[in-house]
């Protein structure tokens, strides 16, 4: 087929057939999809978890990942955070005219590989072509099942005495993408990853997990502030305990962005009763993508500070953190 995507590839005719046969079908080969029916019919459970997400990242391929891998991670992680087992995913591709076929192929193959790693099946897909400048957007839907019955994991469940745990270093994805946009050459790699292993081990261990949240846009600060509010408690964190790689720390300085507000695509925060903290960290550290997990603080009940997120700084000061305000733009002054 041709080197770039043209409007014909969205026509529904022979060029579309070519696109499916040469790129999508080989990558996603599974019975449900290959049936080429109008919709997928699959097995379920009493309750299901459902989510949807859209991916509009530029560049399409970046250090450590690409839009294909990213869309699986983002979707699967949202399901995992409710204690569901991700099963099915659908992908709607919107391709801009001029997109290089090679780029598309790479991203699609990466998507398929990541789906396999995360244990989800791509059961339905769609492609449209629009005018543009060679971009690509992906919209997904994800379905997760509860084979062992419903689990009560939610943002409101964090309670006084809980330990706050993060599964790894902060800001890697954000720094990667920002570096591309600012044309800064960097060794930093995106952390985009499905958190399947750590969450399934954590839940299987019997530890009473109160809350799990993936730390995406808005970063750790935004996520924890929201958790403090929805659980009507105070979240205390120690600046020194937050894992941040030296390269990301330096990049954050360079661009004037606070690492606490930098986004990730393969990190989560977990709250568990304090007595289970060490065991939980050990499990996450023993799982893929969890080697830098750490306890970073604790949940307290205090009337006057209810809903607040307080950071104890490394110098021994204190500051209150709000959700991310503004856009996290790099700044000079």
């Amino acid at each position: 087929m041709s080197d770039v995507i043209t409007m014909a590839h969205g026509s529904g005719g022979s060029a579309t057939g070519e696109l499916i046969d040469e790129i999508f079908a080989p990558a996603f080969a599974n019975e449900t999809l290959l049936a080429m029916e109008d919709s997928a019919v699959v097995d379920g459970s009493q309750k299901i978890a459902m989510t949807t997400d859209s991916f509009v990242v530029t560049p399409l391929i970046f250090n450590g990942g690409d839009i294909g891998r990213l869309c699986v991670c983002g979707t699967v992680n949202d399901l995992l955070m409710r204690g569901a087992v991700p099963k099915y995913i659908t992908c709607g591709f919107i391709l801009e005219e001029g997109l290089e076929t090679g780029t598309l192929k790479k991203c699609v193959e990466s998507l398929a590989r990541t789906a396999k790693e995360a244990g989800v099946c791509v059961v339905a897909g769609d492609t449209k072509v629009v005018e543009g400048h060679g971009g690509m957007y992906i919209n997904t839907a994800g379905v997760g099942l509860f084979p062992d019955g419903d689990r009560n994991i939610s943002a409101g469940n964090s309670a006084a005495g809980d330990a706050i745990i993060v599964s790894g270093t902060m800001g890697d994805h954000h720094a990667t993408i920002m570096a591309h946009r600012l044309e800064i050459d960097t060794d930093i790699q995106s952390d985009n990853a499905p958190l399947t292993e750590m969450t399934s081990k954590l839940l299987a261990s019997g530890i009473p997990v109160h809350t799990m949240r993936d730390i995406t846009r808005g970063g750790l600060g935004t996520v924890l502030k929201e958790l403090a509010e929805s659980s009507a408690s105070v979240f205390y964190i120690d600046e020194e305990m937050i894992p941040i790689s030296p390269a990301v720390r330096e990049f954050a300085r360079l661009t004037g962005i606070d690492p606490v507000y930098m986004g990730n695509e393969g990190k989560m925060v977990v709250t568990v009763p304090g007595e289970y903290a060490d065991k939980a960290v050990e499990i996450i550290r023993g799982s893929r993508y969890g080697e830098n997990a750490a306890v970073i603080g604790e949940v307290k009940k205090e009337e006057i500070r209810t809903g607040k997120l307080i950071m104890r700084t490394k110098l021994g000061g204190e500051r209150s953190l709000d959700i991310l305000r503004g856009e996290g733009l790099p700044r000079i002054c």
Binding site: E250, F251, R331
Partner: protein, 72 residues
């Protein structure tokens, strides 16, 4: 008022009058012309330009001071 950072010069492109400055794994092509610098120098970069050479002696003294808290 003005974000500026200290990095180390990896290489110099004298034709383009730029230097590749490393910030612990991120490299910025910074313009030269405001300070007399060479490869290996630690420099202060502001808005994509090398603004000043950092005095090594003073810098080391400072990092020693900053580490004081972490040490104990």
């Amino acid at each position: 008022m003005c974000v500026a950072n200290t990095g180390k010069i990896l290489s110099i492109d004298s034709e383009k009058n730029t230097a590749s400055v490393d910030f612990r794994g991120s490299r910025v092509n910074a313009r030269m012309g405001l300070a007399d610098v060479k490869v290996g120098d630690r420099v202060l970069v502001h808005a994509g330009c090398i603004l000043q050479k950092v005095s090594d002696e003073q810098y080391e003294e400072w990092t020693a001071l900053a580490k004081e808290l972490e040490a104990d």
